[in-house]
Subunit: 323 residues, 4 copies
């Protein structure tokens, strides 16, 4: 597959470009960036010095697109809605990293492979899930059968989740030495989570606390699900084991090990820890916000859309960058 | 007051020494350290280069103690139990930073000034609360009247909370880039929290998740209290406003501001944010684990025991160090 | 003294405001910020939550200025040149943190107290030295009598030196995990250093390498001065001891201690280490780029201009913030 | 090749194990660790959760060794001297990461491939260079023809260079927020550098300043070489271009790009920047202290010893971990 990247100058796009460069079945099409047009990728991303390519200018993707090419839209929220129809029209497969196509009603398939793999296989337009929803769904969907009433999600994200556009809140001198909650009166990822919970039969209310930690990349989501009554820990752990049986990218930890942002850094992996405390189920879930939370999940979706092995190009941490 | 420090080579002790050096009514007695006996404090703590004193050797505190001197015990858990009786016998006032005297039955008064100020005033032995319990109690005690059924406490601590004794888990290369949960099957601070909840009439169960964040000092505790039924946000916020009226060290934030480790760094202050989501009350509480969570709370307790102004020597962030 | 702050929303200005708030002889005039006009300072600087003031809007300083008021100009380079004449005209004393008045010909006195204290005392316009030149001059001026031929200055700065205006290079995810040289083909501080060297009789050439380290605040400058011939270490150390005799803000370290950014963080102090290697003198110098390198040096200059004790309001680390 | 790792619980060893796991021609033999005997590697290194192996106990390497096996000695300095003879006796090829065999007289070949590739090819015992010497030699050996008189080396290292054995100086709360010089009165790497300089015909004196920066892994060495007379920048740059022609692991940067720890993180690459200032040549060199400075250089040496392609198993950053 030839994969164009629209909005190629952000963190998720850079990670995607690194992934595609080593993908056995992929070829990088146009890396389009309005702001860095014509400049070497190596100049803007120290981690990509080994990639000898330049950013293409505005309009390049549309110009170079051929039927059956794929495009990953990595621009800001709001832009994909305008561009995607033109790309689809020309026969392209599209994976959108923004929030434009995630909420119903939407023409897109929600790109959460654990749940929608078959529909993704047939899709031309896939909405890649947000990083918070990805980790939250991994941590909670297997709970459906226990009918949680209310779920508290205490979530910590590395700062790359805020993107590469300069902002005071993302400066080193602001992020260092603090853990900073935000979106306390409502976060755009809540409807995305609720929509998927409802689809999976989870009727719980959601209390969601997103926080920035002084880490470049990584995400840890702690979900606390209150059930109507106590449940046996073994039953819950069995449900998780069953849900992820055969899913090589999900590790359920025991034996004194806890989910770690560093274990999954630069990978498509997720790590889970599940325990029960009376009628509360606690699930910790670590992913890489730029990996499973963005770029590598996009690659997995592209693989499924093309009929390639699911984890082609994202095995292990073979493509770790180091923000 | 003359204040001796036993176990003077840890982080909390160093912060305490800095505080005492500027306290208008205090004088540093013997800074006893078995490991650094005779060496300049300035050599072991870059932040204390302006203090021209040496560590005293083993036995110094006991040797130099005079009636009405004060001693802060900053050694490891388990040691205070042995030493405190000898100090009390000689007429000293003792504040213990370890966990030795916190749990009932105990001869000590629990040094949480918001609740036990009068008893502290008359005490000779005070058990300084742990950092996690301090932040948790600040975030939850005003909820007693709402009869919470269950409280989830998701807590993040800077690594100085683990002390200065070298350990693999405290190395820079282990702490950086991760958020690491620990004590998932039970943490020694849980009984301390539960005991104080019960004393305050809170019958809730506790799910407690302590985590290390890549920050030297600071603590953020997010408490999620499930009530039997929904409650009005105004009622809860009013309860907090009333609970901390006249307490200059507690700031309840609104207006888009969120509790920040950096706001309270090097201070005795706490910052709170209170909101209600259906029948869940969410309270965020930031303190400095070495300030309100240890050294400055000890100073406040010493002040109360001596009849000095409560915040003498700990106003503002006048004594911030910078780990 | 009443001190207005123009350009009050940067890091150095915030540190200055904190200093002035505790200065025994100072009162904060208008904190003017075009971008944050009317908003609480507490909202923009978590570290200043204890300051109950709002930013004033454009023109406020000029409006509120009274004869004998003082103004610190903390705006971007280029702006001071336009504003200073109006302020001087109205009888104000002005300290400029920018580079506008540092280079000859200039109407300003260069605010390096170790050398120009008498002239500063009589000045109405003082050019506060840059952070790199401050540390470099502290490390090299005592070498004049040894006639260095060539001096290499390898300098590391915390990222606050780049200011608070959002820029890709200052983002957490860019600064973390790297040491980044810049200005390799010439840095604006070189002429400032050379001008002061010449004034002090140092004819050496300069090779200057500024670098950003993943630290919020702090500066370490290593100067390597090649002499025409070997020199005795004792002679050089004696020259430094003599140069800083009676200067309470400069510590010359021995006894296994090395200059530390953390030792001087939040202070006006400098730490030096001096050694000789054949005909090379090596001097390490640590300062706080926002303290001695900006805000506290400005306070010292204001003190001298007003005839106050030199270190009033900047003793110890009594005013440390924690970026 | 089957490669045993002695002293397998340190950072360099862990990086080596990761490299070997993906090496097309290598197989991990016994990972011997006295301290972690029998425990899963995944438990001690979050980054190695994907490796399903346990540490072997004391004596395992010696027990399992077969003729033509290879062993990498990653224990502390002083131990290799005792063990290596026994391994060589049994026909093994040995690469030692410690300093035991680097200094003449030594039975080992110095494993700096740019200079000793042919001798390495025939060696049974290779002394892997230290990280500081590796970067310093890369930055200075091409200067031989310009006869430098004196070279200042200002070096910054990530803290993993100090190893994984717990020590106060390596704690997060000590390393964060500072740049810390050490070994100011002489560092064990100086003789190693001087020995190689002399062998290459460089007669310069050395002033060496090692420093720890708050970075887990990475090294930046700035070399300032004073020549007897000025030299044309083009001539020096040409010498470097020629020296590294055909060496895919060394990038000489221009075009506004500067050597970056992050560019080379997790790789065997080095980045150089060369400029001339009068009679001073300045060379910046970035490597990964655990990559080119330890584990990947060991793999390269193993490759050369076995006649494999030089960069087998260390191409790109395919094996980046993320300390």
């Amino acid at each position: 597959m030839r994969v164009h990247v629209y909005g190629a100058s952000g963190y998720a796009a850079a990670q995607l470009i690194a992934l595609l460069a080593r993908h056995p079945r992929a070829q990088l099409g146009a890396p389009e960036s309005a702001s860095h047009s014509g400049e070497p990728i190596a100049k803007h991303f120290a981690e990509l010095r080994w990639i000898d390519r330049r950013f293409d200018g505005p309009g390049s993707v549309l110009e170079q697109i051929a039927p059956d090419d794929a495009v990953v839209l990595a621009g800001s929220h709001g832009v994909a809605k305008t561009i995607a129809p033109h790309l689809l029209e020309r026969g392209a497969r599209v994976v959108d990293l923004s929030g434009d196509f995630r909420l119903e009603p939407t023409p897109a398939v929600y790109g959460f492979p654990e749940r929608y793999r078959d529909r993704i296989a047939g899709a031309r337009l896939v909405a890649n899930p947000g990083c918070y929803p990805t980790a939250t769904l991994l941590a909670t969907l297997p709970l459906a059968r226990f009918a949680p009433v209310q779920i508290v999600v205490d979530a910590k994200s590395g700062i790359t989740g805020a993107g590469r556009t300069p902002a005071t809140n993302s400066l080193f001198a602001e992020v260092e030495g603090d853990v900073r909650a935000y979106g306390l009166s409502g976060h755009r990822h809540e409807p995305e989570i609720l929509q998927q919970w409802r689809a999976a039969g989870i009727d719980a209310s959601l209390v969601f606390t997103p926080q920035v930690v002084p880490v470049s990349r990584g995400m840890l989501v702690n979900a606390y699900a209150a059930l109507a009554q106590p449940v046996a820990e073994e039953a819950v752990q069995a449900a998780f084991a069953q849900a992820y049986a055969g899913d090589a990218s999900v590790r359920i930890l025991g034996d004194g090990m806890v989910p770690s942002m560093r274990s999954v850094r630069g990978t498509n992996d997720a790590e889970l820890h599940v325990s029960v405390h009376g009628n509360v189920v606690r699930v910790l879930c670590a992913i890489d916000n730029l990996g499973r939370g963005a770029a590598s999940q996009a690659v997995v979706n592209l693989n499924i859309m093309h009929g390639y092995p699911v984890h082609a190009g994202s095995e292990g941490n073979a493509w770790a960058l180091s923000w």
